[in-house]
């Protein structure tokens, strides 16, 4: 990773005027936001407003047409970007968990540290067992994803991502595919992470959770950030009519 001159007092993630199109369809029309180290940021908004597309741009799963995304000072929109180095710092959890079905829970967690970071397998296993306990799945180490419930799979996916010791975690609607009872167990895990000081960016529909945990909330619609603010004021003092309408439907 080239020296970027980034220091922790600067935004860990700095996004400026990002535009992204799929063919002729412009999905992101100038997104800008800053996330400081240790902050938890929630992005909310109606379906199709570009939330997921945006979050996937941060670890270069999607490329952008113009604008700038800096992760710890490293420009993501750079053709010479070392994507692997970027992704070691940026963990991601998906809506559909996407665990590797041919590996057990603990193998899912251990694979990347051993194969990508070339860490000592014995140490990785010790760390993986700790992570499994951390997400409250002690005893499920040797279960295959197909044997776990959705909520359990999602917590394994979180542990798998944490095993890379990322600096920032991206959560892409991680509870959207879960049934209401299991949503809570996943949210508890994420809240603990945020409270421990992990930098988190969540795309979510869980308003109650966003209100409780987020330091800052962004509302997107039609590819732009319509309104943002800390949760203390965001839910009560929304000014934009689109935000008001959205909140009135959700809350």
């Amino acid at each position: 990773m080239p020296e970027t001159g980034w220091t922790p007092d600067q935004p860990m993630i700095s996004v400026k005027d990002v535009h992204k199109s799929f063919g002729t369809l412009e999905v992101l029309k100038g997104i800008s936001l800053d996330v400081m180290k240790g902050e938890c940021v929630c992005i909310i908004g109606p379906s199709g407003s570009g939330k997921s597309t945006f979050i996937r741009c941060i670890n270069a799963l999607n490329d952008i047409q113009s604008g700038s995304i800096k992760v710890e000072g490293q420009e993501v929109n750079d053709p010479n970007l070392n994507k692997l180095e970027l992704r070691k710092k940026v963990g991601m959890v998906f809506q559909q968990y996407n665990l590797f079905p041919h590996k057990t829970a603990i193998q899912n967690i251990m694979m990347a540290p051993i194969l990508v970071l070339k860490q000592d397998p014995a140490e990785v296993e010790e760390q993986a067992r700790q992570l499994i306990r951390k997400v409250r799945l002690g005893g499920k180490e040797d279960s295959y994803p197909g044997e776990l419930s959705g909520g359990q799979q999602q917590r394994v996916a979180i542990a798998r991502s944490l095993a890379m010791r990322p600096d920032v975690m991206l959560f892409d609607e991680v509870t959207a595919a879960l049934d209401p009872e299991t949503v809570k167990e996943v949210l508890v895990t994420i809240r603990e992470l945020a409270e421990e000081g992990m930098t988190c960016i969540l795309v979510t529909h869980e308003m109650g959770f966003a209100r409780e945990v987020a330091n800052h909330i962004y509302f997107t619609d039609l590819g732009v950030i319509v309104e943002h603010g800390p949760p203390s004021t965001f839910f009560t003092e929304a000014k934009d009519p689109r935000t008001k309408e959205f909140l009135s439907q959700i809350l």
Binding site: N59, L61, K83, L84, E85, R87, K88, V90, G91, M92, F94, Q96, N98, L99, F100, P101, H102, M111, A112, L115, V116, G146, A157, R160, S161, M164
Partner: protein
């Protein structure tokens, strides 16, 4: 387009009141594409007593009235020749099928992975190779290889001759290569792209993703169609008798000549060839169909 007939409910009867494909009536015949394993499925669906039926037909074949040489004499001749044409002929067919399958599988894996390469030219070349060898008549490929390769090569003064059966193996391995390539490509593409994304987001390289995440997931799915092609290949090995390779059919013909070419010999000898190929391929087909059911995709 709107119809108000008696059976105007889309998908139930009459003509559909819509052009939307999802609302069209379910057409069972067109719902599934051509079955890539039709050969194994057909073979495996035959009852295990099929060889007995074939043997029965061979045995009771109407006797042509010739005082000098009876059908019983022909069966006796077959009995004398069976050890020779089996051990020197059929086992050679098996050897050819093993070697052609081994070569075809190795090349096919490379060509199949080439079709999902990030390099456009690699994709194009491997696609072309696959289409060319999948869609050419096997016999034509065999003759091209036979005539295109020299019968001996001179490497640093030592002359190494290439026997015809080696060329036959190479010729048979070409269509196998192309079909295995399609199996590999199809299997890799059957894994959801979300698996690629999850792997990428964990900083796996493309190569690691392919070998550690994707291929282990679809390896089992490749085995049944791969075995299907092995059975097809084995049954195609008699083609090489046209190149003069001394396998089962060539030796059977020579044996019949040795028995003065009586027409009564045809049914017993070729019937025996049919029987022994069936006996070899039938268990493979049953195993293939069983494995296919066992490995049925569960996502």
């Amino acid at each position: 387009m709107r119809r108000t007939g008696k059976f105007a409910v889309p998908g139930v009867g009459g003509r559909p009141a819509t052009d939307l494909p999802v609302l069209l009536p379910f057409d069972r015949a067109r719902a599934a594409g051509p079955d890539p394993m039709s050969m194994s499925r057909w073979l495996a669906s035959l009852p295990p007593w099929t060889p007995a039926a074939i043997a029965f037909v061979i045995l009771i074949w109407p006797l042509t009235a010739r005082a000098a040489y009876t059908y019983l004499d022909a069966l006796g001749a077959l009995w004398r020749w069976i050890p020779f044409i089996t051990l020197h002929g059929f086992l050679f067919n098996i050897l050819i099928s093993f070697l052609a399958m081994a070569i075809g599988t190795c090349l096919g894996a490379v060509v199949g992975l080439g079709q999902i390469s990030l390099k456009r030219n690699v994709r194009r070349i491997t696609w072309f190779l696959t289409q060319l060898f999948r869609n050419s008549p096997w016999l034509v490929l065999l003759f091209i290889v036979l005539l295109a390769l020299p019968f001996e090569v001179n490497i640093g003064g030592t002359i190494i001759s290439i026997p015809g059966w080696i060329k036959a193996v190479l010729g048979l391995s070409l269509p196998i290569m192309a079909n295995i390539a399609e199996i590999v490509r199809g299997a890799v593409q059957s894994v959801p792209t979300a698996q690629w994304e999850a792997s990428e987001s964990l900083a796996f390289s493309r190569r690691q993703t392919l070998w550690k995440i994707i291929l282990p997931q679809c390896f089992k799915r490749m085995i049944p169609p791969w075995m299907n092609w092995y059975a097809i290949l084995t049954m195609a090995t008699p083609l090489v008798s046209l190149l003069g390779v001394e396998e089962l059919i060539t030796l059977s013909r020579q044996a019949m000549e040795g028995e003065n070419n009586h027409p009564e010999l045809l049914v017993p000898f070729y019937g025996y060839a049919l029987l022994i190929f069936f006996a070899y391929c039938y268990p493979i087909a049953r195993l293939t169909v069983w494995l296919e059911r066992k490995f049925a995709v569960k996502l």
